[in-house]
């Protein structure tokens, strides 16, 4: 069994892992980047549509182009790469991994950055009855089949869920000659960005049905059809509104959740708010020396923020190794009014970074609001926002000066105030 000693081990070479590895390497640490597949860039390589990188590069890049910018830098860096290497377990900060060429590896890092990304919700997490035929797939799987493998996943498609990937795949399938019969959304509002409704659905006359869901699937072998039904405001089916649609492909775009399999094995606490690990301001988990980056920490809407969060995690890991990690008792950051999910969920007052960004997602759309971070009755930071939507992440960035206003005793709260 080969043993590898390294300063920082980064698990996953998607956008988060690439950014974390580069940042830690830039700060002078020896980094080992572990990737399960034989390719760098993670999910970006199958996201061939454009729209990435506006915040970071002021350009609308496609997924592979965004990845390429990091991959080029990585090749020029001294980050050691372990491709085709799957991590099996993390115990006491010792990583055990396997690869076809190296066999079993034991990696002993000073700090770990978890960057495994997120996973899609599946059929079993939505209430769909009926049979279990082939032809029911998540949007990400369809994306992989078409964009990476060149397969035709079906000929007549219905999409359940109006998440961004669902809408983007509606357009992509349409352009490849698949008949897209409609996008069905359980909620009364669209799940993804407005611009995707415009450029993916409206552009190609693909109908969007809100407050409507797929209730049942038919077909003993291949999918033969679905039954859609309208739902009331409590999301219960309205009898008499059922409609059967013949199709051979049901694409599920019903949400993403942080990938927790390894996080759990490593023993880190999982937050019921983000459904990812509990993280402090330095992106450190409840296990000292284990950090989380990108969609492991919270599902971001933009890859640019994924990269930012990963760099923050890398800086946290470097400070940890240098013995400068904050050691104060963490204050909880509480998700307040209309906040569905937020990052970080803990803050330590002896944090020494220059600035700190809070990322949050709202439960419902509201206009003319203030995003406010409070400590007790005191406002630490507040900013005006024209509109907040569940599909879009809200950021609140605190400068060093803002951070000094935080007292070491009372929990922090973030609210969307109308």
């Amino acid at each position: 069994m080969k043993v590898i000693e390294t300063d920082i081990a980064v698990i996953g070479a998607g956008p988060a892992g690439l950014a974390a590895a580069l940042e830690a390497s830039r700060l002078g640490k020896q980094v080992t980047l572990i990737e399960r597949s034989d390719d760098l860039g993670g999910i970006l390589q199958q996201c061939i549509h454009d729209g990435f990188g506006l915040v970071r590069f002021k350009k609308q890049l496609s997924g592979p182009q965004y990845a390429e910018r990091f991959i080029e830098k990585l090749k020029a860096s001294d980050v050691s790469l372990l491709l085709d290497t799957t991590v099996l377990s993390i115990e006491n900060k010792v990583i055990r991994a396997v690869s076809p060429r190296e066999g079993v590896l034991e990696i002993r890092p000073g700090a770990i950055v978890l960057a495994m990304g997120c996973r899609e919700r599946t059929r079993s997490q939505v209430e769909i009855y009926g049979t279990r035929p082939s032809g029911v797939m998540t949007a990400g799987t369809v994306q992989r089949y078409i964009n990476l493998e060149g397969y035709l996943p079906g000929r007549r498609a219905v999409i359940l869920g109006s998440g961004d990937i669902g809408m983007i795949m509606a357009r992509r399938m349409h352009l490849e000659g698949i008949e897209v019969l409609g996008v069905y959304e359980l909620m009364p509002e669209v799940g993804g960005l407005a611009r995707n409704v415009y450029q993916c659905l409206i552009d190609y006359d693909i109908p969007l049905h809100l407050s409507t869901t797929v209730r049942e699937v038919f077909g003993k072998e291949r999918l033969e059809g679905v039954r859609v039904v309208k739902v009331d405001k409590n999301r219960r089916p309205i009898e008499g509104t059922e409609e059967d649609i013949a199709c051979d492909l049901l694409v599920l775009s019903v949400g993403l959740i942080p990938e927790n399999e390894l996080s759990r094995k490593a023993g880190v606490l999982i937050s019921p708010v983000t459904q990812g690990p509990v993280l402090d301001e330095s992106m450190m988990t409840s296990v000292p020396g284990i950090f989380a980056a990108g969609n492991v920490s919270i599902v971001f809407d933009l890859v640019d923020y994924v990269s930012d969060s990963a760099e923050a995690a890398a800086r946290g890991a470097v400070r940890y190794l240098d013995g400068q990690a904050p050691s104060a008792e963490p204050l909880d950051v509480i998700a307040g009014e209309n906040v569905a999910s937020l990052l970080p969920t803990q803050y330590r007052v002896d944090y020494v970074g220059d600035e700190l960004s809070f990322y949050l997602r709202v439960r419902k759309m509201e206009s003319n609001v203030r995003v406010t971070l409070r400590q007790g009755k005191r406002v630490i930071k507040s900013k005006k926002q024209l509109v907040v939507r569940p599909a879009e992440m809200v950021t609140l960035t605190l400068s060093r000066e803002d951070l000094t206003l935080i007292e070491p005793d009372t929990p922090l709260e973030i609210h969307i105030e109308t």
Binding site: P100, E120, T131, E149, E221, R222
Partner: protein, 599 residues
């Protein structure tokens, strides 16, 4: 008797509106014909008729909306099969590769007999054998005096040997019957009495405290607890595959995707069967066709029972979910008829399993799950695990119990034709009884064919396939150095390597569909439900079998995974990702290594 039958019918159905005809055959079999108001009524009526001791069994040809369970010959397939000529020849033809057919095949493979198993599905274990709760019942839930009761208790005891020889996952940890109040105490006493009469070993009442000590996750304190220590748990599919593989190792030939459509009988003697892929000649046909066994019997001219499909839905939860390890049965709610009730337990892989329920249906292939099925399963399970939400279910599926109206096993030589053995009505506890059923059929076979001579080279051992994630790092290291495919993890949810998937494809009964691979190695059975590993498994199946992308199936001939391609795909050996891994298996790791670095 006709008069009595008429009375039974008139008591239950308005015969002025629905004229129902009952005929009594010489052999005591009652045939019901006519139009019934609905299937529930038709089914209940047949059950009431079957209650009479004088009735040997019931053939239910009652129809509802033009549908019935009457056998209709598949003329086109029969003609097609006859036209194709001989597919195979053997001494013994076993119809159906479920746990019963495979168990019989393995038992008979000890002898100098040429045996074929014909299975219409594209994998073994396609019916009730795969869709059950995996419980090896102790025998205190079956009516004393029945064949079921005898074989249940015998079969349960024989499982230890099966598990040792065939190396499937087997946990003999017992089960509990519970009562919560005075009202349901009665049910518990009945199962105690049944257990005593059936001679269930070790069964006894234990104190609720002992019970709560044994099942730490249970919070609701019962009043009385009946403990049956011999109850065990398996994965029905794994048992079946182990039996079938061992049978195949010992020379039994399995023909998958081969449907028996007729039985050739000449002068009252069986000559063979007609399948959709040609004729199979043989001296003895063993009918282990699950829910279709009544149709095979009809083909042989000896139908004396109808198998009425009774659907049961099971819900599976994440391994992390708390819950009892052993089956808990008996809860303060009204039991459904004709079911062991469905409990709360854990699969041998550690997932909590709830259910099944029991619903009589008319379509033997209807495996759909409806909201009311899960209402029942959730309702019953929530008594033991309160606060469970439906959204916690990670998978639900339906199975069909092949029940006859006497609700007992039918295992006997045909009284009408020579060379035909019925093994029908094997519903719960059929999995538990399977070893005893195989033994019994072994004796019936000797009765049919005369004394059987034993083979000298019979090997009862089936070695367990590699389960990479359960090995020590040293063993993993050794395995990868022998075959690098074990170092390539394909399924991240269950940690399954490419090596294990290739093993499944290359074993004695090849797994070449998604579901076949799922049942053998659990790939696509995890949290992502195949979203991540599906595309990789598709590539591996293509590489190993030479199938085109659109020819790869989930399960069943129309269940394609992808419909074709959107672009030309390269097919050079050194080209794509997974094809490169094939190179690794052939010992050209160096080259692929270089390939990676050049990227």
């Amino acid at each position: 008797m006709v008069k009595r039958l008429k009375r039974i019918i008139a008591e239950y159905v308005d015969t002025s509106q629905f004229p129902i005809n009952a005929t009594v055959r010489e052999d005591g079999v009652v045939i019901l014909e006519g139009e019934a108001p609905d299937w529930k009524t038709a089914d209940e009526l047949a059950h009431r008729v079957a209650k009479s001791k004088k009735v040997r069994n019931v053939i239910n040809h009652l129809s509802c909306d033009g549908k019935s369970l009457a056998y209709i010959p598949k003329k086109e397939l029969i003609d097609q099969g006859r036209a194709l000529g001989t597919l195979d020849e053997a001494d013994v033809i076993i119809v159906g590769a479920g746990v019963i057919g495979s168990g019989i095949a393995r038992e008979l493979s000890k002898y100098n007999l040429d045996i074929v198993v014909l299975e219409k599905g594209d994998d073994i274990s396609q019916g009730a054998s795969k869709a059950n709760n995996g419980m090896i019942h102790s025998g205190n839930a079956v009516v004393p005096g029945t064949l079921k009761a005898k074989l249940n208790v015998e079969g349960n005891a024989m499982y230890s040997d099966w598990a040792a020889d065939l190396q499937f996952e087997f946990k003999r940890i017992g089960s509990f019957g519970l009562s919560y109040n005075k009202k349901d105490r009665h049910t518990l006493w009945l199962s105690w009495i049944a257990g005593r009469l059936n001679k269930v070993p070790g069964m006894r009442f234990i104190s609720p405290d002992t019970f709560l000590e044994m099942e730490k996750d249970v919070e609701v304190r019962p009043r009385r607890v009946l403990y049956a220590p011999t109850t065990a748990y398996v994965d029905g599919f794994e048992v079946t595959i182990a039996l079938a593989e061992n049978a195949a190792m010992n020379g039994v030939r399995f023909h998958l995707s081969t449907e028996v459509v007729d039985v050739d009988v000449e002068d009252g003697v069986v000559r063979g069967v007609v399948t959709d892929r040609g004729l199979v000649k043989g001296r003895l046909v063993i009918n282990a066709a699950g829910v279709f066994a009544d149709e095979i019997a009809a083909m042989a001219g000896d139908q004396f029972y109808t198998l009425h499909p009774r659907k049961g839905v099971i819900a599976i939860f994440d391994k992390e979910k708390k819950g009892p390890d052993r089956s808990l049965n008996g809860r303060p709610y009204v039991h459904q008829k004709n079911t062991k009730g469905g409990g709360v337990q854990r699969t041998v892989s550690g997932n909590p399993l709830w259910g099944p329920n029991a619903v009589e249906i008319l379509d033997k292939t209807d495996l759909s799950v409806q909201p009311e099925d899960l209402d029942y399963v959730m309702g019953s399970g929530s008594v033991v695990c309160p606060g469970t939400k439906r959204s916690e279910i990670i998978a639900s599926f339906a199975g069909i119990r092949p029940a006859d109206y006497k609700e007992d096993f039918i295992i006997e030589r045909s009284r009408v034709v020579r060379g035909f053995i019925h093994v029908a009505g094997i519903q719960s506890p059929g999995l538990a009884a399977a070893p005893a059923i195989a033994k019994m059929v072994e004796e019936l076979t000797a009765d049919e064919l005369g004394k059987l001579s034993r083979r000298g080279d019979w090997n009862p051992i089936r070695e367990k396939p590699v389960v990479f994630s359960k090995l020590s790092p040293e063993e993993q290291e050794r395995l990868i150095s022998e075959n690098p495919l074990y170092g390539h993890i394909v399924c991240r949810c269950e940690t399954i390597s490419e090596g294990e998937i290739v093993d499944a494809i290359r074993r004695p009964i090849p797994a070449v569909t998604f579901d076949a691979i799922k049942r053998r190695v659990r790939a696509t059975a995890g949290r992502c439900q195949g979203g991540f590993c599906g595309p990789r498994i598709l590539e591996i199946i293509m590489r190993e079998t030479g199938l085109r992308p659109e020819e790869v199936r989930k399960q069943g001939k129309d269940s394609y995974i992808v419909a074709g391609t959107i672009r030309d795909r390269c097919d050079e050996a050194d080209c794509c990702e997974t094809r490169a891994s094939a190179g690794v298996s052939e010992g050209i790791a160096q080259e692929t290594g270089a390939h990676h670095e050049s990227d």
